[in-house]
């Protein structure tokens, strides 16, 4: 059904906009009230890249009361994937009859020396897919090719990849391999809390990761570390409401995990998704770009599925790799600097010529700042 911008639908949307502004106004007043009661500057970390993007796009950052700042965290799977992962994918792409199947997000990410985009121009077979299921279907359709699917993403994405590994094993699709770089959020957030360079007074927890893990996955942050947590959705109103809830906790001296995104998130999450993840993957230590190795923060393919593990099958080790000289993506991901503080921001490293993953990824903090942050505001 098409919208008729000039007619009824347009009038309805204009009316909604007017009401929306009233609601936003009420939320801004609520934020200011709580900020006053808190009485000191607070830093809230929005872990998830989509939250960073929406917060900018809707102008929410400009609506925050004085003393309340939002800092972007490491919730961008592409950004935290080490350059070495791209290097390993590139090495595999140079083997005969190998097709690299990847989400679009990784195509322009620089490895130590090259990117998949550049390798494709030089003759590598790189196939962009929307779904891991599409990569598996491709492998089924052409037995002469070895399809290596680059599995990046957090707990939101891992269950879908697990489904393809299970199906590949059951159906013996021997030419479907996965190079696994999945990361999990809770341990990484714990590492940030323990990092004394970074002051975090509250977390806006990732919304879609929580659909899978359940909000209870973050309880330990509130209970053991005393950090207020709110799982927020992705509309502008969701984030505003999430901030109000965090500030309320701080003002009241509480630290809990609350769910703002209750239309999709429960305390326990999606059990079927959790089950298939633990059937196919096991916890491992993982390197996060800029955060170093965080114990128990990665997923590795379990032994029964090792026939489909690309790094074993093709005998390629994923090393950390080398970031571009001067690249401070790591510091941005930890929240210890904001993108404009990086010497390369908007100088050597721009949206059209990114040097680091935070600028390449559409939800990287640097890309968000480059798109939305105006130089006139400082």
């Amino acid at each position: 059904m098409e919208s008729d911008p000039g007619g009824d639908d347009g009038r309805r949307r204009a009316a909604l906009s007017a009401s929306l502004l009233t609601t936003v106004g009420a939320l801004v007043v609520a934020m200011e009230d709580r900020a006053r009661r808190i009485g000191r500057p607070v830093r809230l970390m929005e872990v998830c890249g989509t939250h960073t993007t929406v917060a900018f796009r809707s102008g929410i950052r400009d609506l925050l009361p004085a003393g309340v700042s939002l800092v972007a965290g490491p919730g961008c799977p592409v950004c935290v994937t080490p350059a070495g992962f791209v290097d390993a994918a590139i090495e595999m792409s140079r083997r005969p009859r190998v097709v690299i199947a990847t989400f679009g997000d990784l195509v322009r990410v620089p490895g130590s020396e090259s990117s998949l985009e550049q390798e494709r121009a030089a003759g590598a077979q790189v196939k962009v897919v929307y779904a891991p299921a599409d990569a598996l279907a491709y492998a089924r359709s052409d037995a002469s090719r070895t399809v290596v699917f680059l599995a990046v993403g957090f707990e939101t994405t891992a269950p879908g990849v697990a489904l393809t590994l299970k199906a590949a094993k059951e159906e013996r699709v021997s030419n479907y391999l996965v190079l696994c770089a999945h990361r999990t959020m809770p341990r990484a957030m714990e590492a940030l809390v323990a990092d004394h360079d970074v002051q975090i007074d509250g977390f806006i927890c990732p919304g879609h990761v929580s659909v899978v893990t359940g909000a209870s996955a973050f309880s330990f942050l509130a209970e053991k570390h005393g950090i207020p947590c709110v799982v927020a959705g992705f509309d502008e109103l969701d984030i505003l409401r999430g901030v109000v809830m965090l500030l309320s906790q701080l003002a009241d001296g509480r630290s809990e995990v609350e769910i703002e995104y209750d239309r999709a998130v429960s305390s326990r999450g999606n059990k079927a998704a959790q089950d298939i993840m633990s059937e196919v993957f096991e916890e491992c230590d993982a390197e996060w770009r800029g955060l170093g190795v965080i114990p128990g923060s990665g997923l590795a393919i379990r032994a029964p599925y090792s026939d489909h593990d690309a790094s074993g099958a093709l005998r390629v080790t994923v090393l950390p790799g080398r970031p571009s000289p001067g690249c401070r993506c790591g510091d941005v991901l930890r929240g210890s600097i904001a993108p404009p503080d990086c010497g390369l921001f908007d100088r050597g490293c721009t949206l059209s010529r990114p040097l680091g993953p935070c600028m390449v990824s559409s939800e990287g903090a640097c890309a968000a700042y480059a798109r939305y942050w105006r130089r006139s505001r400082s």
């Binding site: 009420a26 994405t157 879609h208």
Partner: protein, 75 residues
């Protein structure tokens, strides 16, 4: 960080469903959500469903949204 959209289930065949986002159709895997029926909505990420809403829940959620738009008090 995880792009996921609500989509309406229009056809169902075992673990696969065709979903519609305002008329854009795509096949997705629904094996990770329970008892999906045509007319339900599912949250779709990378070609699979993470969460399911029954039609009644969707209506309720829309009513809440309208209320929010009309200036409901925040918690």
């Amino acid at each position: 960080m995880c792009l996921a959209v609500p989509a309406e289930v229009t056809t169902l065949a075992g673990a696969k469903a065709t979903v519609s986002v305002e008329g854009a159709l795509r096949e997705v895997d629904v094996s990770l959500v329970e008892e999906v029926a045509v007319g339900d909505y599912v949250l779709v990420h990378a070609g699979f469903a993470l969460h399911r809403w029954g039609y009644a829940e969707v209506l309720e959620w829309r009513a809440i949204q309208e209320e929010m738009m009309a200036g409901e008090e925040p918690r």
